[in-house]
């Protein structure tokens, strides 16, 4: 049983390894692609969830909240979420449910009226640098909005500024793209492995040789998917290593964090390969595989949150991104790489990937074409 799977695995792997140019493309392309795209995509953000903890009920606080609501209803950069206490809000922030938490301290209104420095605290989820600065900017403008009508206090109110505190070590924009680069490299490798090899065999008429042997669907499908996974893991590990070296990002959290990264990469690779096998396993020409994969790349990668926060999408795209395996791969990698080894934040995403991959494996074996 295993012997036959490994025989299929070895054949498929040898063919790919002996064509190193294609493998090189799978490594270089995502690096170049993201370098270019990552630097050219910067549009307005909307709907970033901002938790507000108001420990003061005075008039200035109400005006500040009013200004924030104006932003929520106007440019809609933020979406206000009332929180009862700081602990709950901070927990949500760490879990990725909030993009920022604004804490209005007690006596904020009275301090302001007395001309004393009043400093609301803003905590931002700097894992996503663009979203963090958008939240910060929104709060800054709300604060300056309430200062406008209070012109008479202006000279005394020089310190009514927001003090922003990032909850994780700083992530710059290039570094924040690394999960996307890795997911892209996984996708690239699935284009030159798995279904592509299977369809190429059919196209060349080579599959007639092994279809007349006692290999079962499971042997063929699993052998080809596992060799694809092997190749994909190798290329995306190289991409991850280069990305980490170039940006200085490190994996914190010890062996477990490495294990989670490895799990995410393996599950994503296997799941994506199996998915393309379901979609393309029966195609007759390798050109079809190329065309459909190009299309898949666009519709999976851009809504994945790799380049741009999911909050910037219209509702329908957000809904799609929730079932997009690449979204969960990106989110899981971000959690491990940038949330200081907080593995709990990755659990939900890894669970999704495991279910997705399992379903695709079953489906691809069931739909495999065993005859000519």
């Amino acid at each position: 049983m295993m012997g036959k799977i490994w025989a299929v695995w070895e054949r498929d792997l040898l063919r790919m390894v002996r064509n190193p140019m294609t493998l090189l493309t799978a490594i270089l392309l995502p690096l170049v692609y993201l370098l270019i795209l990552g630097n050219s995509l910067q549009g307005p953000l909307t709907g970033l969830p901002l938790g507000v903890v108001a420990e003061d009920q005075g008039p200035e606080t109400r005006r500040l909240l009013g200004a924030l609501q104006a932003i929520e209803h106007g440019p809609a950069t933020i979406k206000l979420v009332r929180a009862d206490n700081v602990d709950v809000a901070m927990h949500d922030l760490r879990a990725g449910a909030l993009s920022g938490v604004l804490v209005v301290p007690p006596h904020f209104s009275s301090d302001l009226e007395r001309g004393v420095a009043a400093t609301p605290g803003l905590f931002v989820d700097n894992v996503d640098g663009i979203a963090a600065s958008a939240v910060e900017f929104a709060v800054q403008s709300a604060l300056s909005a309430i200062r406008q009508p209070l012109a008479r206090y202006e000279t005394h109110l020089g310190q009514a500024e927001v003090r922003s505190e990032e909850i994780y070590p700083r992530v710059d924009y290039d570094a924040s793209l690394i999960p996307g680069v890795v997911v892209m490299s996984i996708f690239m490798a699935t284009m030159i492995a798995g279904a592509f090899n299977m369809v190429m065999d059919r196209f060349l008429g080579v599959q007639e040789a092994y279809l007349s042997t006692p290999l079962r669907r499971l042997h063929i499908n699993l052998g080809v998917l596992l060799s694809g996974t092997t190749i994909t893991c190798a290329t995306s590990t190289i991409v991850l290593a280069i990305g980490m070296l170039a940006t200085g990002v490190r994996i914190h959290g010890g062996p477990w964090a490495y294990a989670v990264v490895a799990t995410v990469v393996v599950l994503t690779a296997l799941g994506m390969l199996a998915m393309t096998m379901v979609l393309l396993g029966r195609a007759a020409h390798p050109r079809i595989v190329g065309a459909v994969n190009g299309f898949l790349n666009i519709i999976l990668f851009f809504p994945s949150g790799a380049l741009y926060p999911v909050q910037s999408f219209p509702a329908w795209l957000r809904a799609f991104s929730r079932v997009n395996p690449e979204t969960h791969a990106v989110a899981a990698l971000k959690a491990v790489l940038f949330r200081g080894g907080d593995l709990a934040a990755a659990t939900g995403h890894v669970t999704f990937l495991a279910c997705f991959t399992g379903a695709m494996l079953l489906l691809s074996t069931a739909t495999m074409k065993r005859m000519l």
Partner: protein, 261 residues
């Protein structure tokens, strides 16, 4: 005795087109059986159904008594197939091609080594076993693929035009291999060919296939008797399959045998 190959009313339709039309066939164990017929006659389609590669539209097929439809895996275990197209992997060496193929049949490591050396030596490829097949000539590749089909000691071997495009020397080498094979065990061979002298040299009985039907069947001597005045198999072939190109649908030269359109 159970026949090695048995077909009953075996039929294949591609849409409205009938490629193989209710073929009945019985080949005994140890025979070297020839399948002749013009291009597009349905030989490959027939072989593909018998080897479980193509879904059977209707009828029955058995290999060594095992039903192709109900137990395709059982059939594949006793079957050796050398397809019409070249199917070895160019990016793999000759040895790797043989070894991986043997593993598909679950041949264990020790037996694989012995068998590969024996088969590659027999075809003069042992010295070049570590070379990529992409470096092989067409003849070398053919030889490799013929012995690859024997790696698991099949009981029935199907060869679909194994000598096509080979020079006379290479063809003789392959003939020798096939003759050798018949001597040893009770291997049954079905050989598809366009070379009539090949059929005369090797085959016991032959079937002439035309437009999806078997139009003549018997030993070469029997067939010659059927066609008065025929000197060789070519005369017989022309008599049954006609002179004109089948694809053109032109009227046929020879007297028509019962043939459905």
């Amino acid at each position: 005795m159970t026949p090695a190959i048995e077909a009953r009313a075996l039929t294949k339709r591609f849409g409205a087109f009938t490629a193989v039309d209710a073929v009945d066939l019985r080949v005994e164990e140890g025979e070297l059986f020839g399948l002749l017929g013009p291009n597009g006659a349905g030989k490959t389609t027939l072989v593909r159904m018998l080897t479980g590669l193509l879904a059977i539209t209707s009828g029955e097929a058995r290999i060594a008594g095992v039903d192709v439809r109900t137990d395709p895996d059982g059939v594949r275990q006793v079957l050796g197939v050398v397809p019409q197209a070249l199917t070895s992997d160019l990016d793999l060496t000759a040895y790797e091609n043989m070894d991986i193929y043997a593993r598909y049949f679950g041949v264990d490591r020790g037996a694989r080594r012995v068998r590969i050396e024996e088969l590659l030596t027999r075809t003069g490829l042992w010295e070049r076993r570590k070379e990529l097949v992409s470096k092989f000539s067409g003849g070398m590749r053919r030889r490799l693929e013929i012995v690859r089909g024997l790696i698991h000691k099949p009981r029935v071997l199907f060869l679909d035009e194994p000598t096509i495009g080979l020079d006379p020397q290479s063809r003789l080498v392959i003939w020798d291999i096939l003759r050798d094979l018949r001597k040893g065990d009770s291997l049954t061979i079905s050989l598809t060919t366009h070379y009539l002298e090949e059929a005369e040299a090797l085959c016991g009985r032959v079937a002439i296939v035309d437009a999806g039907r078997i139009v003549a069947l018997g030993t070469i001597a029997e067939l010659k008797e059927l066609v008065p005045g025929s000197r060789n198999l070519e005369d017989v072939f022309i008599h049954f399959a006609g002179r004109s190109l089948r694809e053109e649908g032109a009227p046929k030269g020879g007297p028509p045998a019962r043939r459905g359109r």
